[in-house]
Amino acid sequence: MNSEIVHSQDHHRHILNLGPQHPATHGVLRVLLEMEGEYVRTPEPVLGYGHRCQEKIGESKPAKAFMPNTARMDYLAALVYNHGYAALLERALGIEAPERAQYIRIICDELNRIQSHLMWLGAYLLDLGAFTPIMYSFDDRERILDILEAVTGSRLTYCYYRVGGVCQDVDQQFVDDTRAFAKRLRQRFQDYQDLVTGNIIFIKRTRGVAEFTEEMCARYGVTGPVLRAAGVPYDIRKAEPYSIYERFDFEVPTGERGDCLDAYMVRVREMEQSLRIIEQALDGLPEGPVMAKVPKKLKIPQGDYTFSVESPRGELEYYLVSDGSDVPYRLKVRVPSYSNLSPMSELSRGMLLPDMIAVMGGLDLVIPEIDR
């Protein structure tokens, strides 16, 4: 392995293996740490423990058969991954999904985003040593999973969107449940505010820890809430609106200092914005079909195509090269977690171990997405 750590001869330093089995890495990430006491000198993420050749699988079977696999890359934002891939193929084939399908996609995407942020909130507080918030956020998250289970048939790795629409229409029950949930979550934000945001130890642990700058984010390609916490209002939903996002009125929350507390606040405020989008979409939900006319065999015209969507973790981009057959010649997925993890090495040099854990948690990493 080409690593600066292994060649170190300094006897004051020792090597600590954080992971691949460690409570704070939330998956199979291994971080090789060169430590001096409790101070981290050189952190080095080691990737690949969960590699499943997802991109290669995408290149070895008909394009639309890859849809279920997209959900397995980021298990917390499966619908957003579905959306990106379906929209990519729609762009390649020149198909337009019906109006109602677009609205349903937006609602489900945003529900999925809130669910992912809730999961992150709980897990992050668990990283910081607080046990209660994850129980509260799981309570709310369960309700989203129940709503999504009723329409999609699964609870985590959804395969709901299709090229040209969604596979099944939603009913009045879904609309009512979602409205009730939005109302409930608004009240629950007060609980999170009281328990977490106002908690003195929480603020002491996150304020000023790992200050991302705009320059550093640009250098590493960091996107999503981490970038927005550094003060850059870059959100694909606003920057290059896909689907029908330009019709909705919502804000892109940003932070000022780019530290862990800002990243936390950005995510909490994003959940509120997602609720706004959901309510607007429910109000405007039109009647009509949910699937466009799509040929049985999808012959993708020769050329290369990209499509970007805003996943809860940042910019997710699909890139597809076609040789004219129904099997993609090349499929590349640009995942946000990979770029977001990259600056960790630079950022956490000289930090205490607990701070490094706080930084790593604040990036909201989903390891299967990195390894795919």
Partner: protein, 327 residues
Amino acid sequence: MEGNAIFQELFKMSMAMTGIMVLVFGNAILMAYFERKWSAHMHRRLGPMEVGPHGILQSIIDGVKLLGKQLIVPRDADRTLYRLAPILSMAPVVLAFIVFPFAPKLQAVDLEIALVFVLSMASLNVLAILIGGWGSNNKYGLFGAIRSVAQNVAYEVPMLLALLAVILVSNTLSFEGMVRAQQDLIWFVFLQPVAFLIYIVSGIAETNRAPFDLPEAESELTAGFHTEYSGMGFALFFLAEYTNMLIVASVAAFAFLGGYAGFPLPFFEYSGVIWYLAKVYLLMFFMVWVRFTYPRTRFDQLMNFSWTYLIPFALVNLLITAVVVKL
């Protein structure tokens, strides 16, 4: 004649030790259950429900499971230290109970220096954690052990300073004396509120519980000093933690909350025991509540908090107390 006296003394000793062991193990079983149930209800969960009605037998089953587990000594671990640590963590904390007056006349030994004895026994736990973490030849264990030593050194100072104020007021080191002094005056929690607060904060830090659970910080050090322990080795550390909680709560009850004082209950000769237990479990509920409310502090913040807030406040409090008592 003399042999008879020795026999009586031995009988008294073994009765006292039996009573204390019942208290210690009963407390561990109860607290393991209570902590899970209390935290569950704070989390809007049910907690253990399967074993017995409302899961009341859960901790007994857990104990049986731990008893049945194989004792594993990791390769390259220091076998002697590794095996010694759990025993060393358990034995002294049990001894601390012999000086507690659970009710009037219900006490094994009324030592003149009871408070010093209890604190020294309770702080031997650090040694056990240190050699356990060192002996298991695990980096996480070593981190936990080192953190534990630094933390306990930092927090024993304010704890002693807070208790010194109480000693000045009550003019005794014996718990029986403190309880009687409080019956004459008023509960010391009203006389010494600052000392009480400082004592409780340092007490939580002494027992290595959240938000000061740095030696076993799960999300940082997996399990800290007991990472490599399984079966009864782990169970003894676990027992010692709950027993330490009981000691900290007991000292708080005796030194600040009037000990066994309370109005006598008609049906029970030793009704003081009930008042003592009520106060102790109230304090322990508070400790559990704190644990499930706050995130973990960082190590340097923890030390700074002790040296820059707790110790100066405790010193000022002690000075004021000394001046007032002298007047």
